[in-house]
Each structure stands twice: as structure tokens, then as C-alpha cells.
């Protein structure tokens, strides 16, 4: 009797947590199909008119492409730099390496608004405000800690004897890196890249500070849209944002599963 009630409480709290996790995100799906002209749930039926706006309106399309470009470039930079840095720290395995590792986590530790404020002052003198390069660099910096952490975790499981074997068999340090080390931590690198992509893809605070007219990412466009009008097209854009994030995350899951899948039993 007692165990059943405990089980019930456990189940109820589980569902409650799932509801709080998902409901705020999922609500945008019906809203995007609303037949009203304001941000609200459908009243008389579903309509695709707001999706039509998003697809045809060059402003939304432009924002989407900008976000995609920035996120791809930022995650590429973060993945390359973060992977090399993680490998360097791993190889040093000294107090200095440990120090660098903590330093690289700074964008994660410092409150993002403080970081954004600092960037704003910094970029003003460098003339990087409202430029692609500026936003890509800033987003690469916030993606770096994810890559460092995930690749660092992958390296813990890497057998250093494999690298030594490569060197012994005649590979230069670069060849050993390219042919042995990187293929064996590939899963970690892909996951790191995915998280770096997402960190940039849905980033708003920094963009609010360092970009204005020329660079206008999707989150930024949603933010302006909510402030200016309550166009239901925003819900459709939000749905696109979520779908892209889920797609990219599934890449990471797929990469993680591929390795064991190569081996029957």
C-alpha cells in the first residue's frame, strides 16, 4: 500500500518536471498555427498564414541565414581552437595546463551580461561593433568552454599508448594527431561542435550589446518582434529555432552511437 503511494508521488513529480521542461517550448507550436492576428492560441481553426509570412518575408529569411552562418562559423572556430587547447592541456598534464583549462572556462563562469558589457567597450575601440567578425568571435568564445569540457572528457578515455604507438611506428607528432588521436576522440569533438553551435544559435544577450542593424540574428529578431509587435510569425520563427536545435543535437547523439554500431556484439 505504502509503496504504491510512494510510486504514485514519484510518477507525478516526474511528469510535473517533464511538463515544466517542455510545455513552455511546445506552446509555440499551436501558437504558430493560430488563425488570429495576435500572439495567442488558435480560436476557430488552424492557419498557415503566419508560416507564409516567415517564409516570404525577406527580413525573417535574412535573419535565419545570418544566424546559421554565424553559428556555423563560430562553432567551427570554437571546435578547432577548443580541441587543440584541450589536447595541449591534456598533454601538458601539469599545473599550468590545469590553469589554462580553468581560464578557458571563463566565458561560462562570468555572467553573460557582464561579459557582453565588456565586449561592447572592447569592440567599440576595435571597430568590431555590428560586424560579422565581431559576433563570430564573441560566439566562438562562449562555445569554447563546451568544446574544452567535452573533448577533455573524451581525452580521459584515450589510451596514451595509442599515440606513443603511432610515434614509435614512424608518425610525426602531426601525423599521430591526425591519424590516431583525432579519429579516436571524434565523438567528443562532434558533441563539442554541436554544443558550440547551439550556444551561438540561440544567443541573445551578447548580440543585443554588440550588434544593431547590420547583424540581426534570429533570437535578436524575435526579441525585437516581441517588443515592437505581437506578430504570431514570431511563434513560427521560434518553432524553426527549436527544430534546428533538435536536428543539430540529434547529430551529436548519432555520432555517439555510431562507434559501437560498427561492431556486432
Amino acid at each position: 500500500m505504502k509503496t504504491t503511494s510512494r510510486r504514485g508521488i514519484l510518477l507525478a513529480s516526474g511528469w510535473l518536471i517533464i511538463f515544466f521542461l517542455l510545455a513552455p517550448s511546445l506552446i509555440v507550436f499551436p501558437i504558430s498555427l493560430t488563425d488570429t492576428s495576435y500572439l495567442g492560441l488558435p480560436e476557430h481553426g488552424f492557419s498557415l498564414q503566419h508560416w507564409g509570412t516567415v517564409v516570404t518575408n525577406p527580413v525573417w529569411r535574412d535573419s535565419f541565414l545570418q544566424s546559421l552562418l554565424i553559428a556555423l562559423a563560430a562553432s567551427a572556430v570554437a571546435t578547432a581552437a577548443g580541441t587543440l587547447c584541450a589536447i595541449g592541456c591534456w598533454r601538458l598534464s601539469s599545473r599550468f595546463g590545469e590553469f589554462v583549462r580553468v581560464l578557458m572556462l571563463a566565458p561560462l563562469i562570468v555572467p553573460q551580461i557582464v561579459y557582453a558589457l565588456g565586449l561592447y567597450r572592447f569592440y567599440a575601440t576595435l571597430h568590431l561593433l555590428d560586424t560579422y567578425a565581431g559576433v563570430i568571435a564573441a560566439h566562438a568564445a562562449i562555445g569554447l568552454p563546451f568544446v574544452m569540457l567535452i573533448v577533455g572528457a573524451a581525452l580521459v578515455n584515450f589510451d596514451i599508448r595509442l599515440e606513443r604507438a603511432a610515434r614509435n611506428l614512424g608518425a610525426t607528432p602531426t601525423q599521430a594527431l591526425r591519424r590516431v588521436l583525432i579519429p579516436n576522440i571524434r565523438t567528443g569533438i562532434i558533441s563539442g561542435a554541436v554544443f558550440a553551435f547551439i550556444a551561438s544559435w540561440d544567443e541573445l544577450i551578447i548580440v543585443l550589446f554588440i550588434a544593431s542593424r547590420k547583424v540581426r540574428t534570429l533570437p535578436r529578431a524575435i526579441w525585437s518582434g516581441v517588443n515592437e509587435s505581437l506578430d504570431p510569425a514570431i511563434a513560427a520563427v521560434a518553432v524553426i529555432l527549436i527544430i534546428v536545435t533538435v536536428l543539430v543535437l540529434s547529430i551529436s547523439l548519432h555520432a555517439g552511437r555510431r562507434q559501437p554500431a560498427r561492431n556486432p556484439n
Binding site: 604507438a165 614509435n168 590516431v180
Partner: protein, 404 residues
């Protein structure tokens, strides 16, 4: 590639990790074309020596040379030494053929030649047809062969082996010991093998160096080390041994020493000149002692005792006998043990003067290793003797300094 393999040497090599001395002033020449083993307990520094040979570690002081070439600071990929790692270190993301091909691929060998040589190598280690498998789809013994083929395909000058058989079960190990030995003879290359398994070292090597606390205690051919161990440590580490402690009574000109141990007078052959009154430590292999139920006539060394226990080991019978010299172990071939032992039975132990060896006492003070040895009495000569000498570094005994 048919030129005579050169000598590999360590010259006064020392390796320090912080305060720990992993390798302590080792000088060693490995003759070209021999199977050489570095044998020692874990933490003795033998792996550090191998890592310095491969180029993964650089000595703190001293030189590493190959032939006339000084290679102390040459990076591993430029040494042209193959290596079989502990656990094999096969690349899990590459197939067996790709693993074996790796040394050729990084050397930009042409595709056709590469394929040809991989097929030959697979054939050499009896793995034809396994080229497309992944390493984890192979058994331990097969993985070991892939590691061997991979380390040999680029015609290295020396093959280094780090505990090559430790991951395998015993029966497979014996077979592969013979195979490795046979392979080495066939290709005539220098093999340097690190192992903690004395049986493995004895059965495969042309020469063995015993390593302890970063130093080489003794080197020599397997039978020489086994029959004539120089120190207590070597005798104890290579197989079983009884230890008898005594004081020299008299010496004759012909190399025989009479010594007293616990009131019994024993005779021992000795290459070293000893003076009466000196303390001696004698290593006596259990298999060199004969055990009889009746007193045998005319034996140089004879003691009586009571049978404390015995165990049947198939090819031999192991006896434990309590004597006035302490508890002694005896191994007798089963076919020679024609009496039925009973507990507490009186038996006689005897051995010829050349059966045992006088060894240097390098025991660590707080280490009562042999149960049959009564605690050594205080040295009446004021510790001035040549043979009773304690180890200088007892605190280093269990420090694990093996390079990871």
C-alpha cells in the same frame, strides 16, 4: 637490410622524477641480434629504461646509443625501433590491415607495395584473411600477433617489447614464448623485452638483466643467473630458494669453504676467497636437495628434520621440512619419490658442495621474506663482513616509479 645489427647501449643513464630515482646510473650493452630481457618487479625502473630506449622519455643524465649513433634526444619516430606495447595499443578505429599498414602509410610507401607487404605480414603471423576485422573482434593472442606484425613491417633495427604476454592466459603464453623466440632467431633482429615474469624471461632470452630499485643487480645468460645468482634478491626473484646463513670455519686452497650454520657444519664451493669468521649467506634451490627417509652415506652436506608438509605438483613433489637450519623446501621429481610421506616423519636432507651458491646479502631489513630463515643473529664481527650488507635504500623498496 642484411647488415649486422649494432649494439644498443645505455651509458651511465639516470632518470629522476622529482625526488624519485627511477633509473640510477645504469650502463648496459645489448649485443646486436640477441634476445635481451629486463626482468624485475613492478616499480623497479625496467619500463622507464624501455621508454628511454624507445624515445618516449629522455634520461636526466647519461646517453643512449645505437651502434655509433648517439640517440639520446632523437624523437621516437626517427629511431626506427619497433615496439609491442603492453595491451598492444592497436588503433581501435582501424582494421587489422590498416593497423599493420600504418607504418608504411606514414612513410608514404606506394599503394601497390603497401598492399603486398601487408599481405606478407599477415601471412607471417598466421592471420591471412583477418585483414578486414577490427582489433576488438580478435582474441588476445591474435591481437598480440597484429601488434608484432605492425612493429616489424617497417624493418626496424630493434624490437622493443613491453610485457608482451602479460595479457594472455597461461597456456597461450607458453606457446607464444616459443613463437617469439623462434621469430627472433629467424629474423635475427635485436629484441629487448621488459617483463616481471621470471619464467618468461628464462625461457625466451639469450641474456637477462635483473633490475631492482633502478639499478641492474646482475646480468647474464638465463642458466647462469639461475644457477649462480649473485645476490639474495636474484636468488629469491628467479625461482624458489632456501637461504642458509652461517659463519666461515675454515677454507682450503681448492675453493671449498666449511661453514657453521645453527650448529651444523656444511661445505660449500666458493669462487671468492673467504676468511674464517666471515658471515656467509647461501642460496640453495629446493630442487638441488635430495630427501631420503634413511640416512644416506658419505654426503658433504647432511641434516635431518621432520616432515612438516608436502604437496603433489604433478611432475614434482614439494616437501617442507623442519630442520635445525630452519624450515627447508625440497622439490623432488615425482618419479624419484618412492616413499609414502607421513606427517612428522623423520627424513634426511643432503646436497653436494656445488649445489648451492654463496650470495650477497642485499635483503631489506624489515622484510622477513623466507619463512625458513631464523632471524639473523647480531653480527659478532661488528658488521665488518663482506657479505652481510644491508641494502642502502630500504625506503625505496615499494615506490612505484614505472612510467605510465
Amino acid at each position: 637490410m642484411t647488415n649486422c645489427p649494432a649494439t644498443f647501449s645505455f651509458r651511465a643513464v639516470t632518470k629522476r622524477y622529482g625526488a624519485v630515482m627511477a633509473v640510477d646510473n645504469v650502463s648496459l650493452d645489448v649485443n646486436g641480434g640477441t634476445f635481451f630481457s629486463l626482468l624485475g618487479p613492478s616499480g623497479s625502473g625496467k619500463t622507464t629504461l624501455l621508454m628511454m630506449a624507445a624515445g618516449f622519455e629522455v634520461p636526466s643524465t647519461g646517453d643512449v646509443t645505437y651502434g655509433t649513433r648517439e640517440i639520446t634526444h632523437v624523437p621516437p619516430e626517427k629511431r626506427n625501433f619497433g615496439m609491442v606495447f603492453q595491451g598492444y595499443a592497436l588503433f581501435p578505429n582501424l582494421t587489422v590491415a590498416e593497423n599493420i599498414c600504418f607504418p608504411l602509410a606514414v612513410r608514404n610507401v606506394g599503394r601497390a607495395e603497401r598492399e603486398q607487404r601487408v599481405l606478407t605480414a599477415l601471412d607471417l603471423v598466421h592471420l591471412s584473411g583477418f585483414g578486414d576485422r577490427l582489433p576488438k573482434q580478435l582474441s588476445g593472442g591474435q591481437q598480440q600477433r597484429v601488434a608484432l606484425a605492425r612493429a616489424l613491417i617497417f624493418e626496424p633495427d630493434i624490437l622493443l617489447l613491453d610485457e608482451p604476454l602479460s595479457a594472455l592466459d597461461k597456456k597461450l603464453r607458453v606457446g607464444l614464448q616459443i613463437e617469439l623466440r623462434e621469430l627472433q632467431r629467424r629474423i635475427g633482429k635485436t629484441f629487448i623485452c621488459v617483463t616481471h615474469d621470471q619464467e618468461e624471461a628464462l625461457s625466451m632470452s639469450d641474456e637477462i638483466a635483473i633490475v631492482r630499485n633502478g639499478k641492474i643487480v646482475q646480468r647474464g645468460a638465463p642458466e647462469q643467473l639461475f644457477e649462480r645468482p649473485a645476490t639474495h634478491f636474484v636468488a629469491d626473484f628467479l625461482g624458489e630458494s632456501n637461504f642458509l646463513e652461517g659463519t666461515v670455519l675454515e677454507t682450503d686452497g681448492a675453493g671449498f669453504v666449511r661453514y657453521g650454520a645453527q650448529g651444523t657444519t656444511l661445505v660449500q664451493q666458493s669462487d671468492v676467497r673467504l676468511e674464517p669468521g666471515e658471515r656467509v649467506l647461501v642460496s640453495l634451490r629446493p630442487s638441488k636437495v635430495s630427501l631420503t627417509p634413511d640416512c644416506p652415506p658419505n654426503r658433504a652436506n647432511l641434516t635431518s628434520g621432520t616432515l612438516a608438509g608436502w604437496s603433489y605438483r604433478g611432475t614434482e613433489v614439494h616437501y617442507e621440512v623442519n630442520t635445525s637450519l630452519g624450515r627447508l623446501s625440497v622439490n623432488a621429481p615425482t618419479w624419484q619419490s618412492d616413499f609414502f610421506p607421513t606427517g612428522g616423519q623423520d627424513v634426511w636432507l643432503s646436497w653436494p658442495p656445488d649445489a648451492a651458491t654463496i650470495v650477497k646479502d642485499d635483503r631489506v631489513t624489515r622484510e622477513p621474506r623466507q619463512g625458513n630463515l631464523p632471524r639473523p643473529p647480531a653480527d659478532p664481527e661488528g658488521n665488518g663482513s663482506k657479505y652481510v650488507k644491508r641494502s642502502d635504500h630500504p625506503q625505496q623498496e615499494n615506490v612505484d616509479v614505472e612510467a605510465k
